[in-house]
Symmetry: C2
Subunit: 720 residues, 2 copies
């Protein structure tokens, strides 16, 4: 803590206190949930199946991850030690990596376990009142939100208290820990959830013509687990990662402004602390003031309260502590970015808006026109999303036009602002699968009509909140990546001692890196789409097999839910090794072969194409999904019509795009940027080709080649 002024010391301990307060709030909420009624025995039986399935998934994934954490803790130590950073930094970075991984795992694990504890209680509460059901569902989700908030802030603050101005170097480890777990959670979760979903639907709804969530379908529990795996654990880990990564880059860039004045480093942490307080206030305020209120309205009211509180907060800090109101404006730009992104997502995927209406209309001339209409609309949505991001960056350019050295810091603050209300955002997101699961439990246990209606309404609102936050996840990934990209340049300047560093794409070397970088998101998407296809095929066969068991269709014999869960879990873990290898190793290979400037070009390509493809796939899939829903609600002939059949094809194509391939690009973009930041000092220090590097690159290329080959295996494997 050398060089800190008394005020800074006090501020830091206060931030620590706020982080802990956030966590205590999560504990407080979880006690509330646990006290609530858990429903009758039948409901508990279903809930237990989901819980066991979720537990099996989490445990199986943990086993895979632990191995990676072990290897990478050593690797992280090496990245610092080999670059000559001193043993304190090296040990700190490895320990921070461990902490980052564990925190991210904790968010995923506890969040998801609380979600599966919450769902049955929501179902039970729906029998009593709408207000209670809403409160339980939202607060179960808030637990994940506050864990993300609290642990993210806690980690960053602890490291800062210990390391002071050396914190950024150590924080890289913390960020990478979160990043790695997010990759696993997002990609593995994405494959799991779609394999289960497609497997359950294809055989159940289409072949056997039984309803969704029918208890005779062996994959129905896997499908319910999948909603949690994808939308709760995957999403939380993804946002947790952006949360950390924006702190890391803001600190690196803040340090670059003035190496002896800590206020630029402290400001992001203070903003985040205000965010935690605002989220506590806002989320606690979410409740139904009467039985007829719209759930979405209540949730939005809480969000608005949090937003206002936090804006007031960081104006005060910027004015009275940093004495530079521009910092508050840059942070505010981030909040605006989040709001506009949400609006764009809603516009391009909402059932009430023109694009989805047009897509639904084009179903009248068949699936092909519906698909084309969706593709055209999805491509356009990507254009606006990227233009909004461009404006956010421009805002920073304008705000700091007098001090150009602060522009990139401004972009990082934009990311800090964007994720200020992480508590609310994740609460909104996790609310989706909890309401969905409660509805599923209602269907499987044949609950009364009134309660079912309450849960169906909550489920519908959950779909909206879930969709809206998806835009935030992608937007924040890109802003985080852009600030990491800025930090990348700064790091190179520090390491080389050269004042200027360019990523000059008119240089042929850099251009080559740039082209390869742009190709990576296409390769990644191709691999994840194929992975879903393969995994779904296994589940389809398993469900078909179980339907043939005598007595099962009559409801006399229970299907083996656990088997389907296990198959999804195993398939997801196996599939993500290939894409994981690609994400981690591609920047290392490009960096060592083409050097740091080309690696910069590579990063630029990854960010640009990654953003475009992520939004395109997410919104195209979301729009097809909702086009189907509007038709199912009676448009153009409703269920069973030709228009409906066309829309089902659109929805099925869109599912892996919006829930697997699209979201998987967020952690991919950040992992690649994070790895680049970690290895760039090593790349610079290796001025000459040694046999060791040649061997290493050959081995890494072989691994990536194997991963790609592996991802292209026969998509429809024979089952023994």
């Amino acid at each position: 803590m050398s060089g800190a002024l008394p005020f800074e010391v006090g501020a830091m301990w206060s931030i620590l206190g706020v982080a802990i307060a956030g966590l205590l709030y999560a504990v407080f909420l979880s006690r509330q949930i646990l006290r609530a009624d858990a429903g009758n025995q039948e409901m508990q039986a279903v809930s237990n199946s989901i819980r066991e399935g979720a537990g099996a998934y989490l445990n199986r994934q943990l086993r895979t991850i632990v191995v990676f954490i072990g290897i990478l803790t050593v690797a992280l130590y090496m990245t610092a030690a080999l670059a000559g950073s001193g043993w304190q930094i090296a040990v700190g970075r490895a320990a921070a990596f461990l902490m980052g991984s564990i925190f991210s795992l904790t968010v995923g694990q506890i969040g998801m376990r609380m979600a599966v504890i919450g769902n049955v209680r929501v179902a039970s509460a729906a029998q009593r009142s709408f207000g209670e059901a809403l409160k339980i569902a939202y607060r179960s989700g808030t637990i994940t939100g506050m864990l993300t908030d609290g642990l993210g802030l806690l980690g960053g603050t602890i490291i800062f208290i210990i390391y002071g101005k050396f914190a950024p170097e150590v924080l890289l480890g913390f960020g990478f820990g979160g990043t790695l777990i997010a990759l696993f959670m997002r990609v593995g979760g994405g494959i799991y959830t779609k394999a289960a979903d497609v497997g359950a639907d294809l055989v159940g709804k289409i072949e056997q013509n039984i309803p969704e969530d029918d208890p005779r379908n062996a994959a129905v529990v896997a499908d319910l687990v999948g909603d949690n795996v994808g939308d709760c654990a995957g999403m939380a880990a993804d946002i947790f990662e952006s949360y950390e990564v924006t702190i890391v880059s803001a600190m690196i860039l803040g340090l670059a402004i003035h190496p002896f004045n800590l206020k630029w480093i402290l400001f992001p942490l203070l903003v985040r602390a205000i965010g935690v307080i605002s989220s506590i206030i806002g989320t606690y305020y979410v409740r139904a003031f009467n039985e007829k209120e719209n759930a979405f309205k209540s949730i939005k009211r809480g969000f608005n309260l949090s937003a206002s509180t936090s804006i007031i907060g960081f104006v005060l800090i910027a004015w009275f502590y940093v004495h530079d109101i521009r910092l508050a404006i840059a942070t505010f730009a981030g909040i605006m970015l989040a709001i506009v992104t949400n609006y764009l997502t809603e516009y391009f995927t909402g059932t009430e808006k023109a694009p989805v209406k047009e897509i639904a209309k084009s179903s009248q001339s068949g699936a092909a026109t519906l698909l084309l209409s969706g593709l055209a609309s999805g491509m356009e949505s990507s254009v606006w999303a990227i233009i909004v991001i461009a404006f956010a960056i421009l805002a920073s350019v304008l705000i700091f036009h007098n001090t150009p050295s602060m522009i990139l810091y401004g972009v990082a603050l934009c990311g800090i602002g964007q994720l200020t209300l992480t508590g609310n955002n994740i609460a909104m997101d996790a609310f989706g699968p909890i309401a969905d699961n409660a509805n599923g439990i209602g269907e499987m246990t044949h609950m009364d009509k009134k309660s079912r209606q309450i849960m169906a309404d909550l489920d519908a609102v959950g779909n909206t909140t879930k969709a809206v936050t998806k835009g935030i996840a992608i937007g924040s990934a890109v802003i985080a990546a852009v600030s990491l990209f800025g930090a990348f340049g700064d790091t190179i300047k520090v390491v080389t001692g050269v004042k200027d560093f360019f990523v000059d794409v008119s240089n042929p070397y850099v251009f080559v890196g740039f082209l390869i970088g742009g190709a990576i998101p296409f390769l990644f998407s191709s691999m994840t789409i194929r992975a879903v296809g393969r995994a779904a095929y296994l589940i389809v066969n398993e469900v078909r097999r179980q339907f043939k068991i005598p007595g099962l269709m009559e409801g006399k014999v229970k299907p083996d839910y656990a088997k389907a869960v296990e198959m999804c879990t195993t398939a997801a873990q196996r599939e993500l090794l290939g894409v994981g290898a690609l994400a981690v190793l591609s920047p290392i290979i490009v960096g060592f072969i083409f050097k740091e400037a080309a690696l910069g070009g590579f990063l630029a390509g990854v960010i640009l194409v990654g953003q475009l493809m992520a939004v395109f796939m997410a919104n195209t899939g979301g729009a097809w999904d909702n086009a189907k829903k509007t038709i199912e609600d009676g448009l153009y002939g409703g269920k069973g019509s030709d228009a409906h059949k066309a829309s089902v094809i659109g929805d099925t194509v869109g599912d892996p795009l919006k829930d697997t391939a699209g979201p998987a690009l967020n952690p991919m973009i950040k992992v690649i940027n994070m790895v680049s930041l970690l290895i760039v000092p090593l790349i610079i220090s290796f001025k000459k080709w040694s046999p060791f590097i040649v061997i290493m690159i050959v081995v890494l290329l072989a691994i990536v080649g194997f991963a790609i080959w592996y991802s292209k295996r026969e998509a429809n494997p024979k089952i023994g």
Copy 2:
């Protein structure tokens, strides 16, 4: 001609002679075709309908284009005059623009007219022998090829003879002329061909269940015309553009190496002259040596002969004239790039290869899995295509590693090499619609079975040759754009007099330009896909209306073919205004607002994303098309099976992707680069914001905004 050595003078006149020889060869071939038997009266009636339709399209398009040419001739004069280049350059550039436009129009007009003269003669020849039919079909296509080759070389050489080392500045006008026409031809043609195709198929094949090319279908002639419009005129204009643009950039970059030694500028022209000679030899060699020979084999034999001849030729020039064998190696790398690109296209879209087989297989579980499999495979194809381009650039880096200033010149030579065999490539491409049309004439006039089989075989081979050359068109567009990008940097250095110019994407301004650039291909694709949907809808209604005419279905009344042709033509012209405005104005707006470095970032984004999307859409569509064909040939239940229905959906989605949106990106990439190169001196000279610039930007933004809005009008308009 100041400063040229005697040898150079002789060489230039020789090149001019070769260019004229290429044109004379085209005249010679066209006389051969015209002498051939034109079939019986019935066949001629159909052929006349197609010819009239083609003529109507060409004339209607000409009227639109002439206005643009007029405006832009003045604008081109201004770009040079305002930048202070002197009146000789300004007048030269405007005149060159006029020449470029006229040459490109000539290629499109004569090429297409020869194709529709050839088709009926192929049908007639098929009644006599396979060998004669092949010869007439291929030679009709060769005429377009040799016109492209000959006029491209002629224009470049004339300008060089007149302007000497000032030629590059004037050549910009020549290149832009070709570029503009290519945009019109490619985009307009792409919209036309798919609107007619979808319109004819949706009503004829699907609603009325009558065969393709049935004479009762009002859109059938429009469809046959469309094949020529898209694949013959559009493709030829596209390649003509790349042909010119690679010459322009090679000359600009060659001049940068040494301002007083013309050999670097002369080398590209010499290589191209060799290409013309090789193409004459190789194309004339294409014939069937016996009646059972495979047509593809004959065509390939001619290609190989041309390739060997030209390789020998430019090794000799590099060795004995330039005394630098590296130039031959770089050019050779271009030929290799063309061959590998062809192979990749064939692999990802060929019926015999794994990807199409897998896509066809996935049709068994429905349209959704077929679509996903196609998307995954198309995304992957894009990865390999871009990696091959990256390797081509790397090759240049390695070849010229001793003289880094020559690396970009090496990339331009790669583009020169890639298009050496333009004569053969376009012949192969135009062969496709000619054989297709002959087959259509056979079907419409109920020819005998043996002749029909010959034409069906030629048609199938035509589909392959057409698909293979599509890869070349995209690959050459990107290499051309990369060299233009290099020339862009050089131009800035010359104008500013500053030794170094960076497109540093780690600079926030440049990054913003870069993000916007990446968004453009998505916007463009979204607009063109919608345009096809809108135009197709009009045709569908028209065909439906005509089917209701009493006596038409019984064959007693002839449908009004001309009406459908005219509707397609008008719709295509109207639709392309929006996308044309976007392509021409977006670089001007970005350049003036964000300045030259950000414009560089913008170009990088356009090239990267344009290439990825173009290949993705072309190959995905091509693979779906061929998956349908393999199923129609009997796989998985053949025609009428569920698998077939699924594959028809895939094919219909793929059609606008592969024939409109994908190919439209090629001229878009080049137009944007060309416009940037033209305006960058003006951007640099406007150091301060003046009211004039502000007004200009607002007006341009309004035009682009209007164009985007226009492209989003109700996709299914009501018909009065």
